[in-house]
Amino acid sequence: MRRGKRRPAAFFGGPHALHRPGADVLSVQGVTVRYGPHLALEAVSFTVRRGEQIAIVGPNGAGKSTLLKVIAGVIPPDEGVVQVYGDEPDRHVCIAYVPQRSAVDWRFPITVYDVVMMGRLRKHGLFRPPRHEDRLKVEAALATVDMVSMARRQIGQLSGGQQQRMFIARALAQEASLMLMDEPLTGLDLPAQEQILRILDELRKAEVTVLLSTHDLEQAADRFDRLLLLRRRLIAFGRAEEVLRPDLLLEAYGGRLRLVPMADRVLAVADSCCGHGETEVDR
């Protein structure tokens, strides 16, 4: 499908697509995205099952954010098809996109509660005030991410981990069944990372499908069902031991990855922005 030929989404959000029975949660087929002459994604194909948690890894500029935005229905692919529950993503409101923290202005005069309530906008309607039910959902979402006491804070007063949990609460309030998280762990200290990983465990129980981009190969291997190794093209997609192979990592990271031979395994050191991209790879 080409840019510009897409079916327009209902203007003020009329009827949205229903989930087709038997359809994959997410199917990406031959997706290519160009920014001018630059190729951001090239013929990427994969499918994801319900309730899976997928880590998207790859070097900076590999197209991780672009892939998430294509799946979110924010960037239309130049070629290929994305389907969420058997329909185009921009006809769904069940997809939550959790942005990088740098994507918004933290001095904006808005409270944590207001931001989480944005997740309810489609439920209570664009031109109607929130109902009692919406308030309950927002409070429940805040409780899940342990942010109830922060609800009335202006968002600039939050720590990095709290900012990230606020965005996750907004996705929870949205009652999304597919969550796309753009580097939620990057730049957080370990306790803050652990808090978010615990929320992911809660999402697993609720069968919410999660795609999360990260620089941390070790965490990706430990905490996620499958890894998607990306460098413009899809290099590998599968369980950690299938993906974190020296040859594949070298293909993805090129010179930016050092492979350190150990006694019985290879230590892959990714030279990425956040520094700690170490993981062990079976020889």
């Binding site: 003020f12 229905g73 924010v74 921009d90 005069p109 207001d114 664009l126």
Partner: protein, 288 residues
């Protein structure tokens, strides 16, 4: 004191001036909240200046009829707003350069057109700096009508404007028509500028849009409060400015803007959290 305050109100033209200043203050402050939060100050300034050719044509065609002038200004403002909006989305040079070229060119065209009339300098001064004491009852009615329409749209589409301004990508995942609301906001700014033309003129317009809103930004932490405080400060600046204008024979538009600027200065110094003193108190070592 009360005699001093009531004195100007004996005149009908002063009463209309006060009403105009209040309405313009409130409408511009509310719309200006979004101008400040979205970093559109330069756009607002450019848009105000770009209307001048429209005003000039309306002036030449209507021969001074205010109604004709208003509609010409309104049409030009909406075309200019959507034009500049489209320009900033696709341009070969940098966005601010493109806007700068267009707005200076349009402004020059306006001056050129007006300069063909004999009473050129007086009329031009009114368009550039406003003439709040020359507001007619018919002008007031138009201002009230369009001002109310702006406030109605801002109130009605509050949630949409909030999401689209704070996190446009999230807004698109909610399948909101982001482009529509962006254009709607540009049009609201355009109409607010036309409503305010007579009070402050094009040259000082940007101050009506951004100064009260920026002051409120320093004092509040939620958008509704920011809008309320901005509207209050703008009204106050309008009233105080007109008194200064009456008693000290200062140009009214300039007086209003100067009062507004003083408010901003005070807030920048003394705001409880975002003020200079508060910042200094938080890290006293930085200045020793």
């Amino acid at each position: 004191m009360s005699a001093w305050l009531l004195e100007p109100l004996r005149y009908a033209f002063m009463q209309r001036g006060f009403l105009a200043a209040l309405m313009v203050g409130i409408v511009c402050a509310v719309v200006g909240t979004y101008v400040v939060l979205r970093g559109m100050a330069f756009f607002g300034d450019a848009l105000a200046h770009s209307i001048l050719p429209g005003i000039a044509v309306g002036y030449l065609v209507g021969g001074g009829d205010r109604g004709i002038l208003f509609w010409w200004s309104l049409g030009t403002a909406i075309v200019a707003a959507l034009g500049i909006g489209a320009l900033s989305r696709r341009t070969q040079v940098k966005e601010d350069t493109a806007i700068g070229i267009i707005f200076a060119g349009a402004f020059a065209l306006g001056i050129a057109l007006i300069s063909t009339v004999r009473s050129y300098s007086v009329d031009l001064a009114h368009f550039l700096f406003g003439d709040v004491l020359g507001v007619s009852p018919a002008d007031l009615r138009l201002m009230a009508l369009f001002g109310a329409a702006i406030l109605f749209v801002v109130f009605f589409a509050y949630d949409a404007f909030l999401v689209v301004s704070f996190d446009p990508i999230f807004a698109r995942t909610l399948r909101l028509p982001v482009g529509f609301f962006d254009s709607l906001l540009l049009m609201l700014i355009a109409v607010a500028i036309v409503v305010s033309l007579q009070t402050v003129g094009v040259a000082l317009m940007v101050a009506m849009l951004i100064t009260p809103a920026a002051t409120a930004y320093l004092l509040t932490r939620r958008l509704p409060a920011m809008m309320g405080v901005a509207a209050l400060l703008a009204s106050l600046a309008g009233v105080i400015g007109l008194y200064l204008s009456y008693y000290f024979s200062v140009a009214s538009g300039a007086a209003i803007v100067l009062v507004s600027t003083c408010f901003f200065g005070l807030a920048a110094l003394f705001a409880p959290e975002r003020g200079w003193l508060a910042a200094r108190r938080r890290r006293p070592s930085a200045h020793t």
